[in-house]
């Protein structure tokens, strides 16, 4: 916006047009989309183990499978639900059942029509047991009323936002019954060449290099997709991705594709844009976890003292080059529906930390208060630096720190299976809806030995469990928001595990790639609307 003065901006009609363009996303559509072209995309990680991993499998298979499989609805960047495969999802008055109307004339890539039978199969045999798990525990039956209508029945009242969030989320992909019925969905070899309803069909997967998608000419949304061809390619090295951008061989990369110092260099050329929108429904945080099975960390004062000892702005500015913000409470700041500022904060204050530790009964004895084992999960490069920083920060309040930064498999085992840590640094991505991705870090039923990214601290507080149970069945949206605030307050003051920084991942795209990053989880969208202005 630097080229315009404020006065020009307000006075000219051209300014008004530009304003509408600039006020939206950097890629907002002001021109008519053009058909055709090949888009080469990537993300800041590696090749998936399989193009579709039914139970999840991490970001990489999620990225590749969502171009082929679609969901009933999706969440836009301003957090509104939009129909995709479903025309409507209506709750009954008691919120114990929901009626789903499917979009007519949708067909799978092999030509078979999408029907209510597919949906029943997904609800009962895919979502509930495999992809959503406990999230859909309350789901009792799914029944096809007519070829395009399904009624889902639940044991308890289910909040509308919660159910829609599940259906629009990672677990809600709709897979074809006629292909998966009777087979083991998880090990079916077709997962390497998935068949869905989406705008792109898998053409060829060259392992170690790329997957090529062809345009689905029979896509239900006629005219879409705009692209003729989509290629998702993988580089193992961030610097190589920068080089590929500069050489014109890569058009778009999601989730921090290039080294942070390169972002300014590339965007300065005006040939590339850096976009932070499109991540709010898969918002990443870096958290610190305190093992309650250890006497020392069971004391709330100790946990609060340690939080005061951490300079979170330093982590955000130095480790993440400003692409992160100090967290407040358990929710990501981009969660505009549930986020609240009205929670206990832990500003960086070494003196206060020391005083709290003294008061908790851990004064400095011969140079040290106590010894802790700090495990920083080595799956992100940043966690290595954060681990090293925390070691210093805790040593500044006279704690002896034994730091370990194990690789992925070892980190998972130490933190989530063996609970072999005192303090751990880990990550997770949360949806807007706090149940279960956020709440399962705090509830007692979130403790499942061997299951990662949930309550590994052993924290158990009846009041917390009660609040979350209420949240799960509160169907009044306003009351529900205040319950979430209550949850957040308790989480922040008890602090068994808390985010240290909220990450702001960035999408890098050539400036002629249009209409990207318009949804709340762009990486997991079908990319039907993306077009090339060439």
């Amino acid at each position: 916006m630097s080229g315009f003065s404020r006065r020009d901006f307000l006075m000219t009609t051209a300014g008004a047009v530009l304003a509408s363009g600039l006020a939206g996303s950097s890629s907002a559509a002001t021109a008519t989309p053009k058909r055709g072209g090949t888009l080469v995309g990537t993300w800041g990680g590696f090749e998936p183990q399989s193009l579709f991993v039914p139970a999840g499998g991490g970001s990489s298979p999620y990225f590749t499978s969502t171009k082929v499989f679609e969901r009933l609805i999706r969440l836009t960047a301003d957090l509104k639900f939009e129909p995709v495969l479903a025309l409507g999802i209506e709750p009954a008055e008691d919120f114990r059942s929901y009626t789903i109307k499917l979009r007519p004339n949708v067909s799978w890539h092999d030509g078979k029509p999408l029907t209510a039978d597919d949906l029943v199969f997904n609800a009962i045999q895919y979502w509930k047991p495999i992809s959503a798990g406990v999230t859909l525990d309350a789901l009792q039956t799914a029944e096809a009323v007519d070829p395009l209508t399904v009624v889902l029945k639940f044991k308890v009242p289910v909040p509308e936002f919660f159910l829609k969030s599940v259906l629009a989320g990672k677990a809600g992909l709709v897979i074809p019954k006629h292909i998966y019925d009777g087979s083991n969905i998880i090990t079916n070899p077709i997962n390497n060449t998935p068949i869905g309803t989406g705008p792109f069909k898998v053409k060829e997967w060259v392992r170690g290099s790329h997957v090529e998608y062809a345009r689905n000419d029979n896509y239900w949304n006629s005219g879409l997709p705009y692209l003729d061809k989509l290629v998702i390619r993988w580089w193992r090295d961030p610097a190589s991705r920068s080089a590929a951008f500069e050489a014109g061989q890569l058009d778009i990369g999601t989730f921090n594709p290039i080294p942070a110092p390169d972002i300014a260099r590339l965007t300065a050329t005006k040939k590339f844009v850096a976009e932070t929108k499109g991540y709010s429904n898969s918002a990443w945080i870096t958290s610190v976890e305190f093992n309650q099975r250890r006497e020392i960390f069971k004391k709330r004062e100790v946990r609060q003292a340690l939080l005061h000892a951490i300079d979170r702005s330093f982590i955000a500015d130095t480790v993440f080059f400003g692409r992160a913000r100090p967290s407040l409470g358990a929710l990501h700041f981009s969660n505009s529906i549930f986020f609240t500022k009205d929670v206990q904060d832990y500003p960086f204050d070494v003196k206060k930390a020391a005083a709290l530790l003294d008061a908790a009964g851990y004064p400095v004895k011969s140079g040290s208060r106590f010894k802790m084992s700090l495990v920083s999960a080595g799956w992100f490069e940043e966690n290595v630096k954060i681990g090293q920083y925390l070691k210093q920060a805790f040593e500044d309040v006279d704690i002896t720190v034994d730091l370990a930064i194990p690789d992925r498999a070892t980190s998972l085992k130490r933190i989530y299976t063996d609970y072999d840590y005192d303090v751990a640094v880990s990550n997770n991505s949360a949806s807007i809806e706090p149940i279960p991705q956020t709440t399962q870090y705090y509830t007692t039923d979130g403790i499942v030995k061997g299951a990662a990214f949930r309550n590994a601290t052993g924290y158990s507080n009846p009041k917390m469990d009660e609040t979350v149970s209420k949240m799960a069945i509160e169907t009044d949206e306003k009351k529900r928001v205040s319950l979430v605030h209550e949850f957040d307050k308790l989480a922040a003051s008890d602090a068994p595990v808390l985010p240290m920084v909220d990450l702001e991942p960035v999408t890098i795209a050539r400036s002629d790639v249009r209409d990207h990053s318009l949804t709340a989880d762009f990486m997991g969208e079908s990319w039907a609307e993306v077009w090339l202005d060439r």
Partner: protein, 322 residues
């Protein structure tokens, strides 16, 4: 000749056996298992499902039984099934091994061509500016990390000059004739093969130079000169052929390390070879895949070494097959 081949092949069997046992033990000593990685990635918490998967992956059996089962299946030429990729191990490896082989062979070619030429030049012009420049270059390419060299070459030749593609093995989304495809792969191959090959070229150059200087002092070279052969013929036919022996030895030894070095180069140039597969498999403790790659890798190195031995016979008739 045939005896030496057969003997070499028989020696491969205990080697493969040792590779399996050692790596099997190593990967089981590392904390975390494929089961842990898969279930945590897939967020599976249902105890029934966990038991079912334990059985599917075969981790419900004692480690010794797993090892015995694996060895038995390798003996039947079956490398097992990878649940991570949902495909047989052999199929997945065979999709990616050819790319690594092409890269390795091209790198060996470049290393030999550049290294031997530079070594010969340096020895002919010994103690001149040429000799010094070649030595300096050799030290540089030996010391420079190959990933750094790779990135620098990409920035220079792919980004700034645009002569070569930044990565990959084929131009994506273009249908070409067979001949066009070969040219395309060769175009993509230049940078990675050079980045990988120059490191080995540096050692070859140093060894070749020393070896040339040593052989040049021997009596038969003086005889060759005395009987009136031209300088070029003396160098090429008499000195060089005899000076090649240490290079061949070195080559045999370095083929193994080259397989390892290609992992790094493959990452920098996103070459679709075995490197990324091996890395991901180690990280996810996917032992059937790790063992599969290592078994095929050791087979490859063993076969290469056997060919090097045969090359000795050809180069130096004094070495007899026994």
């Amino acid at each position: 000749m045939r005896r030496i081949i057969i003997r070499r092949l028989v020696q491969i069997i205990p080697l493969i056996f040792a590779v399996i046992v050692m790596n099997f033990v190593l990967i089981h000593l590392a904390p975390g298992s494929l089961f842990d990685v898969m279930t945590s990635e897939q967020q599976i918490t249902d105890p029934k499902m966990l038991d079912q998967l334990r059985h599917t992956y075969g981790v419900d059996q004692p480690v010794s039984v797993q090892l015995a089962k694996y060895i038995w299946s390798v003996m039947r030429l079956d490398l097992g099934y990878s649940y991570r990729q949902n495909a047989p191990v052999f199929d997945v490896i065979m999709q990616q091994l050819p790319a690594t082989l092409i890269l390795m062979l091209a790198a060996v070619g470049i290393a030999l061509l550049v290294g031997v030429t530079a070594g010969v030049l340096a020895s002919i012009k010994v103690n001149t500016i040429w000799d010094n420049l070649i030595s300096l270059g050799a030290v540089f390419f030996f010391a420079a990390p190959s990933f750094w060299l790779g990135i620098m070459m990409t920035v220079m030749f792919a980004v700034k000059l645009g002569w070569f593609p930044v990565g990959g093995m084929r131009t994506i989304g273009v249908d070409e004739s067979a001949f066009g495809a070969v040219l395309d792969v060769m175009h993509h191959l230049v940078l990675p093969a050079t980045a990988l090959g120059l490191f080995y070229a540096a050692t070859f150059a140093r060894v070749m130079r020393a070896s040339m200087l040593e052989v040049a002092r021997l009596d038969f070279v003086r005889t060759a000169r005395a009987k009136g052969l031209s300088g070029g013929r003396v160098v090429l036919a008499h000195v060089m052929r005899n000076a090649m022996l240490p290079i061949v030895t070195l080559l045999g030894l370095q083929l193994g390390t080259m397989l390892g070095g290609s992992v790094v180069i493959e990452a920098v140039f996103s070459w679709p070879g075995i490197g990324s597969l091996l890395f991901d498999s180690v990280m996810s403790r996917n032992f059937p895949m790790v063992l599969g790659v290592l078994v095929l890798g050791s087979l490859l190195v063993a076969v290469c070494n056997a060919s090097v031995d045969l090359l000795y016979l050809r180069l130096d008739p004094r070495i007899k097959a026994r």
